[in-house]
Each structure stands twice: as structure tokens, then as C-alpha cells.
Point group: C2
Chain length 178, copies 2
């Protein structure tokens, strides 16, 4: 699958609906994956994203040190792998191998893209001041990739304890809202 | 419609999927409504929520002073009113009146509940330190209400410029994730 570069001004439209995402990091040449739902847009362009990552997670430790990650957005076909990544730790498991996911090199960060995800956002940590109090990282999206064939992607949205809402129909209303 | 109290431990399941919400505030006895998509969970219990509200919005000014709001979660039947609230300002419009929405008294805050929304979260601002830099308010949910008839509510999720994804089917996978 060939992905194309997505203008940074369009990134908010991918995260604002609240999909579950897979965060990839890289430490000492070894990649890891974490499932994440606690994220939000903070600014449009450059796209600034807030995300909360438990300090019990391996990704928390890596992100604090490397200050780089990729936010990969999966669709419903990947739901079992998404849950698998959420139920295991990169401290003991090579998640790319165990869940049969494919790494691709990012252009701005060392963390890899997950090929099977329909969109990938290369990010760096730009503000770590809220990490100690809230486990809250402020990220800037440096580069965005999308599979142009996936319009209205069927993202999944976590309602808790393995229950997910799958993205349904799309409606469009006249609006001045960005 | 009679709503019941929802345990605070279950609030994350309402916001984690990323629905568009309507934020109500009250200032000098006058209620206002703002449409919001930039929010995320920060902690489970008590439920802590981060939200970004543009400093151009009337709600920003009110929230800074009153430090209280209600997060109301609408379903797809309210989509036109949600867009209407996003395209008007409470500085010049009484949105409850113009959009035919019904106020109900909250139990812990002065801001009103919107009756037509299937869930309502009464909130206070617990940390305003990130407001000046990111327009980011940290809220604690004090009390939550839900319409018990609305399981798997058809929330709407903003993809930008008036395009919304409507919540589709629900799937459940075995998971240890909270």
C-alpha cells in the first residue's frame, strides 16, 4: 500500500473524532507499540496533540527519554491486534512480531510507522511539563501520512473494557466550524 | 425523560470514544452553550478531563471566571442544533431559546444540564495553569447523569468542516484493558 503525505493542516480531522490509536516508539534499535485512547487536539497548525500515557507503561519510559513517537491510526480490521497490543507489555514482548505488524521507516523520527494502519503521524514531544502531574505529553506532529484509498475510515473508539464503537455513516451539515 | 445518576467510575466510557459535546456555562443567571470536540480523559476516578476552548469563545471567558460547566453529550438527532451552537456566539444569541433546547438544574454547579442530551457531566475547573499557553482547562467531573434507555448511544464525531462520523455498531473483544 502506498501512502501519500497529508498536509499538516488536515491532521486534526483524523484525531478529533477520537479513534483508538497505536503509538510506536523506538529505543536502542527496538520498536514498541502501545494502544492509546486518551488524546486530543490542542492546536491546528502545526498540529499540537495532548496525550495521557500511564507511567506504568513501557512507552511512558521510552517517550520521556527519546521524545519521539508515531501515532498510527488503525481501522476495524485491526481490532484484535489493537486489543492484543493493549494487553501486553513491550518490556517482555516484541509486539510487531507477535501481532504480525509491519514496520516502515518514518522520515522525521526514529520510531517506525505501522504499515497496516491507514494513517501515521510522526511526532516529537514539545512540552513535558505536565508529565509528572498528569502523565500528559504535548506532541507536535511533524509529518503525516495517509492511505488515500481509505476515505471515511472505519476507525474504532473505545467505550471501556474491550467494547468498541465502530465508525458508522458520515453526515455533512452546512457549517462555519473548522 | 428521567435520567439516573451514573457512577463516576464509568464516566471515562462516555468521553473516551471522542464524541462532540455541548458545554454549558452560566454567568449572571444567563446560560450559554458551546460545541466542543477537543477533550480527553486524564484520569479515571475522580474523572479528570482535559479540554481546549479557544480564547475567542464566550465560554472561555465565562469558564475562567465561574470555573464551572456541564459537559452534555448529544446524539445524532441533535446534529443540526450542535452545528447551530458551533456557528453562533452566546455573546449575541440565547442558544437555548434559538435552538429549542431545555435547561434543567444541575446538582453541584450553576451551569444547567441540557435535557435533550443523553448524558450530562457536572464539572469544575481544578487546574487552570495551562489556560494561558494552550487554552487547556483541567476539569473534574463531580456528578454524572445518563438516560438509561440510551445504550450504545449514536454519538457524533467531528471530522472537520461540518462532516461528522455517526457512531456505528458495537463490538466486544476479550480484553484486560480498563
Amino acid at each position: 500500500m502506498v501512502k501519500k503525505s497529508l498536509p499538516l493542516s488536515k491532521v486534526y480531522g483524523l484525531l478529533e473524532p477520537g479513534p483508538v490509536v497505536l503509538v510506536t516508539t523506538s529505543s536502542k534499535g527496538r520498536a514498541n507499540i502501545m494502544t492509546m485512547s486518551w488524546h486530543m487536539m490542542i492546536d491546528f497548525e502545526p498540529p499540537i496533540v495532548g496525550c495521557v500515557i500511564s507511567n506504568r507503561n513501557y512507552t511512558f519510559d521510552i517517550l520521556k527519554v527519546t521524545k519521539e513517537c508515531v501515532i498510527n491510526i488503525p481501522t476495524v480490521e485491526l481490532a484484535e491486534k489493537v486489543v492484543g497490543c493493549g494487553n501486553t507489555s513491550g518490556r517482555t514482548v516484541d509486539k510487531f512480531k507477535v501481532f504480525g505488524l509491519t514496520e516502515a521507516s518514518a522520515s522525521c523520527v526514529k520510531a517506525p510507522l505501522i504499515c497496516e494502519c491507514y494513517a501515521n503521524l510522526e511526532c516529537k514531544v514539545v512540552d513535558g511539563k505536565m508529565v509528572s502531574k498528569y502523565n500528559l505529553f504535548i506532541l507536535e506532529v511533524l509529518k503525516a501520512w495517509i492511505n488515500p484509498a481509505k476515505k471515511d475510515a472505519q476507525t474504532i473508539h473505545h467505550r471501556g473494557r474491550g467494547t468498541f464503537m465502530v465508525a458508522g455513516e458520515t453526515i455533512k451539515l452546512p457549517s462555519k466550524m473548522k
